[in-house]
């Protein structure tokens, strides 16, 4: 009995040959640069025990938690447009579900995604921090210029 499965070898070879012709990376089984539609993402989340909806995915990409999907025109006459996400987005969606369970705050989730190394626009991270510290003394800097030393007389009310 060979230590590998003959079918797997066959499929891999077909994939690699196809990859040579169409420029796809097939070394990891399924086409790496293949796309995922909403249903597949929802099914992926359901397999891990998370319930998400197409509306939720839309909200997430509008909040820049996931990349914007590519809109693919209908295949048949009368069919609707389809949203196609890059294949590598699966783990990112699962991470969002995990973080939202922990804290229902989009800014916090975006920050954690960035910490995990996902592609998040830096300006959004900086903006979130600024929002958290909205009441920080930045706006009062001018007022503080005249009050930069310890004034003992003013200490005791």
């Amino acid at each position: 009995m060979p230590p590998f499965h003959i079918n797997a070898v066959f499929h891999n070879s077909v994939g690699i040959i196809a990859g040579c012709f169409w420029g796809h990376d097939t070394s990891r089984g399924r086409l790496y640069n293949e796309i995922m539609n909403e249903d597949e993402l929802i099914a992926l989340a359901a397999r891990e025990g998370y319930v998400i909806s197409p509306r939720q995915l839309e909200r997430w990409h509008k909040a820049d938690l996931i990349p914007r999907p590519e809109v693919i025109p209908p295949l048949t006459f009368g069919g609707g447009n389809r949203s196609a996400y890059p294949y590598h987005i699966g783990p990112q969606v699962l991470a969002i579900c995990r973080y939202l369970e922990q804290k229902r705050n989009i800014d916090a989730v975006r920050f954690w995604l960035w910490l995990e190394g996902y592609q998040i626009t830096l300006s959004l991270i900086k903006k979130a921090y600024a929002v958290w510290f909205r009441r920080s003394p930045g706006t009062f800097r001018a007022r503080l210029r005249n009050d930069t030393t310890w004034q003992r007389s003013r200490l005791k009310p």
């Binding site: 922990q102 804290k103 920050f111 900086k126 930045g138 800097r141 503080l144 310890w150 003992r152 200490l155």
Partner: protein
């Protein structure tokens, strides 16, 4: 600004939650004046106001640095010097805790600097865990409590990220790296040591009683270490069979 916020905090610090961090800290001070001064120092440091730590005090009044030392429980944080005046003075004059300046640093931070700060942030949890295993406390609060809250608190993590960016901008990057390198090296060892302690306490409590805390080991003098080693040899001789069986059951604990 700092005074206003201090007064607000003085009025509203009495929350129902008896474990509220500011309430726990303020409970350390007996008089309202000391509480006020402690809060004022913090507010000044955060609000970009230079605070003079070396000013003369009136009779029977705690020096400024002493107020901070009391809150931080410096005696328990044995790696810190007894007199913090010089360090606090530097912290104040270089505006190391100023939120305003941290915001400016964050605004100017490049992608590379942010990525570097992110890598440093990964060490925070191991650092807190190391401090906890070594038996240190941050004022009245344990480091285990801090790490528990830190894990789920994005704001705290963001604060540390910006603090690291700010420290780097102020030229403390080499010092930070040294600390983090030490944590990277010691964390796995300390974790294994703690697991061994726990296993020993469960299976052979009479032997575990003879071991001293990891945090106190560094305080022993050479002579005390020799006496301790001698005592451990005696304990091993008395419980040889039990201990050999223990190591066989836990080969992963052998350092």
């Amino acid at each position: 600004m700092a005074e206003e916020q201090t007064e607000t905090l003085m009025r509203h610090h009495r929350t129902r939650n008896q474990f509220n961090v500011s309430r726990v800290f303020l409970r350390l001070f007996r008089t309202p004046d000391e509480r006020f001064r402690f809060l004022y120092i913090q507010m000044s440091l955060l609000h970009d106001i230079r605070y003079e730590f070396q000013t003369q005090q009136e009779n029977e009044e705690l020096p400024q640095a002493e107020i901070f030392s009391q809150a931080l429980n410096v005696k328990a944080l044995r790696f810190l010097p007894d007199d913090l005046t010089h360090d606090l003075e530097e912290m104040s004059s270089r505006r190391l805790l100023s939120i305003t300046r941290m915001n400016v640093t964050l605004e100017a931070a490049t992608e590379e600097e942010m990525a570097r700060a992110r890598t440093r942030l990964e060490i925070m949890l191991p650092l807190l865990e190391c401090l906890d295993i070594l038996g240190y406390r941050f004022g009245p609060v344990s480091f285990a409590f801090f790490s528990q809250h830190y894990k789920t608190n994005a704001l705290a993590q963001a604060l540390f990220l910006v603090f690291f960016l700010h420290l780097e901008a102020k030229g403390y990057s080499q010092g930070m790296e040294q600390v983090f390198e030490a944590v990277r090296m010691s964390w796995p060892l300390l974790k294994r040591g703690k697991a061994m302690h726990n296993a020993l306490a469960q299976e052979l409590p009479h032997v575990s009683k003879e071991l001293i805390d990891v945090g106190h080991a560094s305080e022993l003098t050479k002579e005390e270490v020799e006496v301790y080693k001698g005592r451990l040899r005696e304990v091993y001789a008395q419980n040889k069979e039990d201990l050999d069986a223990f190591w066989q059951r836990h080969p992963e604990q052998i350092l």
